[in-house]
């Protein structure tokens, strides 16, 4: 959730005219609202919604999207693609997002077949804490791409 705050707050601090934060988790929203209050940021709207459900927003209403989607687990594969598709639906411009490097080829093929252009802007490692008993290690380092999906080359 600190990642989520950094995106919304970061956008607003870096000069975005107006930011709308889409978040479904009540705890993350509480954290975010607290941060907005603390840093006196008044150009961020928060809407509680599930972006994997039919959209509460009209198409193309945002200039751009920056997001850190869930990567997907055994029971939730493909959820990162749902987030990406929704972001592209809501934005008229480019979408910036984090995805596992292991999915780079798949995402690139999928997006380019639809006429988008994918650029890997950065490669990094995310530390994922142990979530399930079956994970043997306390945390795992995952290779992650920060990508831009653009409508034109």
């Amino acid at each position: 959730s600190s990642g989520i705050n950094a995106e919304y707050g970061g956008c607003a601090m870096l000069g975005a005219g107006h930011v709308t934060a889409l978040e479904v988790d009540p705890d993350a929203i509480e954290d975010l609202a607290g941060n907005l209050e603390e840093y006196e940021m008044d150009n961020v709207d928060v809407v509680q919604c599930d972006v994997t459900a039919p959209s509460s927003f009209k198409e193309g209403v945002f200039d751009t999207a920056i997001m850190n989607p869930p990567f997907g687990t055994k029971n939730n594969e493909g959820i990162d693609m749902v987030f990406l598709d929704r972001a592209l639906e809501l934005c008229r411009g480019s979408v910036y997002s984090f995805h596992k490097s292991s999915t780079r080829e798949f995402i690139t093929r999928r997006m380019e077949s639809r006429g988008y252009h994918v650029t890997v802007l950065a490669e990094m490692k995310f530390s994922i804490p142990q979530m399930y008993k079956m994970h043997r290690k306390k945390e795992v380092l995952v290779d992650v791409d920060f990508i831009r999906v653009a409508r034109e080359r």
Binding site: C49, S56, F57
Partner: protein
């Protein structure tokens, strides 16, 4: 309140209830409205004018009690500073902290609490 529902949000949102053909605009109602001062940026408001659905904006303004400040018909060419400042006021300075957004077709109400609309639906909806 720092967190708020503004007319910008209302202008961008629609109902996603099952079976709805035209869910825009949602009906806005408020029990608590805040007014705050936000620095005026003419360029930003001019760019927003291009993409606003004017009728929905006027309707939202009416709901917020500031409907008189905007003309009924959308300005044809950008707008003079007075108009831009009126739009700025409605868009960014008047906020709903407690209220509801209502689906125009099903009547389903989405609460706004502490300035945040909760658009979550149940499975069946």
């Amino acid at each position: 309140a720092v967190v708020s529902t503004q007319s910008t949000g209302h202008n961008m949102m629609k109902s996603h209830c099952k079976g709805v053909t035209n869910g825009f605009p949602l009906k806005l109602s408020s029990t608590k409205v805040d007014v705050k001062e936000v620095e005026f940026n003419a360029d930003f408001i001019t760019r927003m004018l291009d993409r606003l659905e004017w009728g929905a904006l006027v309707e939202a303004a009416r709901q917020l009690g500031v409907g008189d400040s905007l003309p009924e018909m959308a300005p044809e060419e950008g707008g003079d500073e007075e108009l831009l400042r009126s739009v700025h006021h409605v868009l960014l300075e008047v906020e709903v902290t407690e209220g509801e957004l209502e689906c125009p077709e099903t009547g389903r109400r989405f609460p706004i609490r502490n300035g945040i609309p909760d658009m979550r639906l149940n499975e069946e909806e």
